[in-house]
């Protein structure tokens, strides 16, 4: 408790408050822009953190990280173009809400959901950091493989009515994930002798390509018929959600926060997997699963709560074990080492002031961010009023800038355009896009974990049933695939009776 108060005093020092607000705002902005994510923003700020007090530096970097979780869904809702992997789930219902003229409500509820998710996860951080870090250690290659398998089955089972198309999109994503040097053997796969491809295709390029560029291309097809849609879109609705919407979202938000938090603690899992699992869970236990994907408010609120909780969870392996669980925390680890702080088992004993300062800054930061984001709603809905002929060139420009910042290479521009065309074709042929992108995000790790699991069991598949975690994950996977089918049979029977 003493540590907590001390940390609070650290966090409300004017300079640290300044970093919280700056980091949160910056995070929101980079989160909104396609391709610019928290990892890039933190990396760009590394030279700034040279010479900063380490506590202030980590407060700033963490604020950027969870700020981006708030911002990431803005462009998902308004433009159907997620800013990062963890904002993909927000397109499922956020964009349909905006099309129904509820963009304002959608953004308000997602800010509040992020807020609640962040606060619950911060409490989790205080009480559960050490036990959860130990729990995460139980995840070996077999468990990771099954977790990713569950994620993929959850995505595919979302595409009700077009499951075959969902499967095809997923397989395409898995194929793309095999590009690059195979870590187990060092063999170059599909790299076309281009050193740039030897590290694989960055999933962010694919996100920007299929979503942002694909969306723009798709809209080119109708740009001259836009009169009608313009009328519809100019109705942006209220900037605050209704009591009814809150009632529907309340429990999904509260359920998704701990789920996202725990998934976030697992190194390598992170916001994309957390938000996807929370979305599919909510859909399956919902009484109105048919409304999901058509603008169900809880379908937006749940993943938003989960991904922000995951960003808090990801700080746990970083700080307790010095193990970065995501791209952003990897960059943060580098920056902290430069400042002479070595996150790891000794940090909690040697430097508790820093940890408590960070925890308190997360409380304050989430309050600041919910305010910033709700204030921004009124401004952001105006994006919908922007004429397409102005908006789309801007999106294309931002997409190219975002792509360039990923690895400073023009090779990526060609990839961006190729995936733009793929995105367009998928939209025209009505293929779901999310399975492709998420399969690409988890594919390489999934393959490697599968092989490692088999290497460590000398080829016996029994390793996938050898721990209770594996068994639970397997059951969930089977359930997520067959639940819709079982429900249907069940309902048919009922109606037949």
């Amino acid at each position: 408790m003493e540590g907590f108060m001390e940390g609070l005093l650290t966090a409300i020092e004017p300079i640290n408050l300044f970093w919280i607000v700056l980091g949160g705002f910056l995070g929101t902005v980079v989160g909104m822009l396609p391709g610019l994510g928290p990892a890039t923003a933190v990396a760009v700020l590394i030279p700034v953190t040279f010479g900063m007090d380490p506590t202030s530096a980590i407060i700033l970097m963490a604020a950027i990280y969870y700020g981006a979780m708030y911002g990431g869904s803005r462009s998902s809702i308004l433009l159907n173009t997620p800013g990062d992997g963890s904002a993909i789930a927000a397109t499922f219902d956020g964009y349909p809400m905006a099309q129904k003229g509820q963009a304002g409500q959608a953004m308000a509820i997602s800010a509040v959901a992020s807020f609640i998710g962040g606060i619950i996860a911060t409490f989790g951080f205080i009480f559960l950091a050490q036990p959860l870090a130990n729990f995460a250690l139980k995840f070996g290659p077999a468990e990771y493989f099954l977790l990713m398998l569950l994620t993929l089955s959850a995505i595919v089972s979302l595409s009700i009515g077009k499951m075959i198309k969902g499967f095809i999109a997923m397989c395409l994503g898995l194929l793309l994930s095999t590009v690059g040097i195979d870590p187990q053997t060092g063999i170059h796969r599909f790299t076309l002798d281009n050193p740039h491809l030897s590290e694989g295709i960055d999933f962010l390029i694919v996100i920007i390509g299929v979503y942002a560029i694909g969306e723009v291309f798709y809209n080119f097809l109708t740009i001259n018929k836009e009169k009608k849609s313009q009328d519809k879109k100019s109705n942006m609705g209220k900037v605050w959600f209704s009591k009814e919407q809150w009632k529907r979202s309340k429990w999904p938000i509260l359920r998704s926060a701990p789920l996202g938090f725990i998934v976030g603690v697992l190194p390598g899992a992170g916001g994309s997997i957390a938000s996807m699992i929370s979305y599919s869970t909510e859909k399956q236990i919902s009484k109105k699963p048919d409304e999901f994907g058509k603008g169900a408010v809880e379908g937006l609120a749940a993943p938003e709560s989960a991904n922000n909780a995951a960003s808090v969870g990801a700080m746990i392996p970083l700080l307790t074990m010095g193990i970065p669980g995501s791209g952003t925390t990897a960059v943060m680890l580098g920056a902290l080492i430069m400042l002479g702080v070595r996150p790891g088992p000794m940090l909690f004993e040697n430097d508790p002031g820093m940890i408590w300062g960070l925890i308190n800054s997360m409380f304050i930061g989430n309050i600041v961010l919910v305010i910033i984001n709700i204030l921004l709603v009124g401004l952001l809905v105006k994006v919908l009023k922007t004429p397409a002929k102005v908006l789309y060139p801007l999106i294309i420009m931002l997409a190219f800038i975002g792509t360039y910042t990923l690895s400073y290479s023009t090779v990526d521009f060609y990839l961006l355009l190729i995936f733009g065309v793929i995105g367009l074709l998928m939209k025209v042929m009505d293929f779901p896009i999310a399975p492709l992108v998420l399969a690409l995000i988890v594919g390489a790790d999934m393959e490697q974990n599968f092989r490692m699991a088999l290497v460590s069991s000398n080829g016996s598949v029994s390793i996938f049933f050898s721990s209770w975690i594996s068994v639970v994950l397997l059951i969930l996977t089977v359930l997520s695939l067959f639940y819709p089918l079982i429900m249907k049979l069940f309902l048919n029977k009922k109606s037949a009776n």
Binding site: A39, A43, I46, F50, I337, M338, S407, Y408
Partner: protein, 328 residues
């Protein structure tokens, strides 16, 4: 609002390009006569990037170099993309390097090698560590190696992010001295790199790990893992209880070095310029602080020494890679 956003970006772009040109005024023909660009062949935040940015900062802060210094990130291909870029540039471009410069070539992943560049200095080194969990049945390196020799499949060894790197090859060298065939070793490759390997060890998913010292040092001090041996020539500060490989009867020292180099065909004066500047840089307090923060050791060698060192290292790596069976 969008319009304002656009103007803001336009403004930023103009500002950035202005920064890029203003200080280009030292003039004359004496080297260096324009910006110095240091290529970090990796994304921001990684080890190469931090090395490049530290060199940049220390050279500027101590006013060792008057010209503007920029860091450019060219990630991809384990350094390949950045070094390819350097290869085509003039002598105002430098790049950070490591043993990957040699191994990429030996593994057939790159056409470039150290002879395609001008070595300027070796700067620092990390040491390798072989570690097990605290309650492991193997309490010293010889017990571990004996078990591997008896039944290679019974000992799972965590390594990352890929085979052919120093973590892997140092282990191949050490076991080779005990006549253990490298191809029998049961490696689990964690492509997330050092952090993942340590998580696997803590969770007992592997029996031993070979990684850089910094990945396991804190865990050793906290009593969570046991470092069996380090690859340095003498025992290290804070780790006085950990023997070196040499003490354990394995006659080898394995540095995981980092250095800096320029494009091919730099003139004598240019090389001399950097010898002078870099030898001063490694004497600075900031540099020593950097080494300490990263658990690196000073490993400074001049351009000439580095040239010989590279040739020597290339020979060693060639042997190790042949031994490892990675290249048929």
């Amino acid at each position: 609002m969008k319009k304002r956003g656009f103007l803001l970006i336009l403004g930023l772009v103009l500002l950035l390009s202005a920064c890029g040109t203003t200080k280009n005024s030292s003039g004359g023909s004496a080297y260096p006569n324009k910006h110095i660009e240091i290529v970090a062949p990796a994304s921001p935040g990684g080890g190469w990037d931090l090395t490049a940015r530290s060199v940049q900062k220390i050279l500027k802060d101590n006013e060792l170099v008057q010209n503007n210094i920029n860091v450019i990130n060219k990630p991809g291909g384990g350094g390949e993309v950045g070094w390819n870029y350097l290869n085509t540039k003039d002598s105002h471009y430098l790049a950070v390097n490591s043993s990957l410069l040699l191994t990429n070539n030996l593994l057939g992943q790159s056409k470039l090698t150290h002879q395609d560049f001008t070595p300027l200095a070796t700067l620092a080194t990390e040491w390798q560590a072989i570690a097990v969990s605290v309650d492991s049945p193997y309490q010293n390196i010889n017990e571990l190696f004996e078990q591997i020799k008896k039944d290679p499949t019974s000992v799972k060894i965590g390594v990352g992010p890929g085979l052919g790197n120093d973590d892997h090859l140092s282990f191949v060298q050490a076991t080779g001295m005990k006549d253990i065939q490298a191809k029998d070793l049961n490696f689990l490759v964690y492509d997330g790199g050092g952090g993942d390997v340590v998580t696997a060890l803590l969770g007992k998913h592997v029996d031993a790990v070979t990684t850089s010292l910094s990945e396991v040092k804190e865990h050793h001090l906290a009593g969570k893992v046991k470092i069996l041996a380090v690859s340095s020539d003498e025992r290290l500060e804070e780790l006085e209880d950990v023997p070196t490989l040499q003490e354990e009867g394995l006659d080898m020292v394995f540095p995981h070095w980092r250095g800096i180099m320029g494009p091919p065909n730099m003139t004598e004066e240019e090389i001399q310029y950097w010898d002078e500047k870099l030898s001063k840089m490694v004497e600075s307090e900031e540099w020593k602080q950097l080494l300490e923060n990263n658990d690196w050791d000073s490993f400074y060698q001049t351009s000439e020494e580095t040239r010989l060192f590279m040739a020597e290292q290339e020979k060693l790596y060639k042997e190790l890679i042949d031994q490892s069976g990675l290249v048929q």
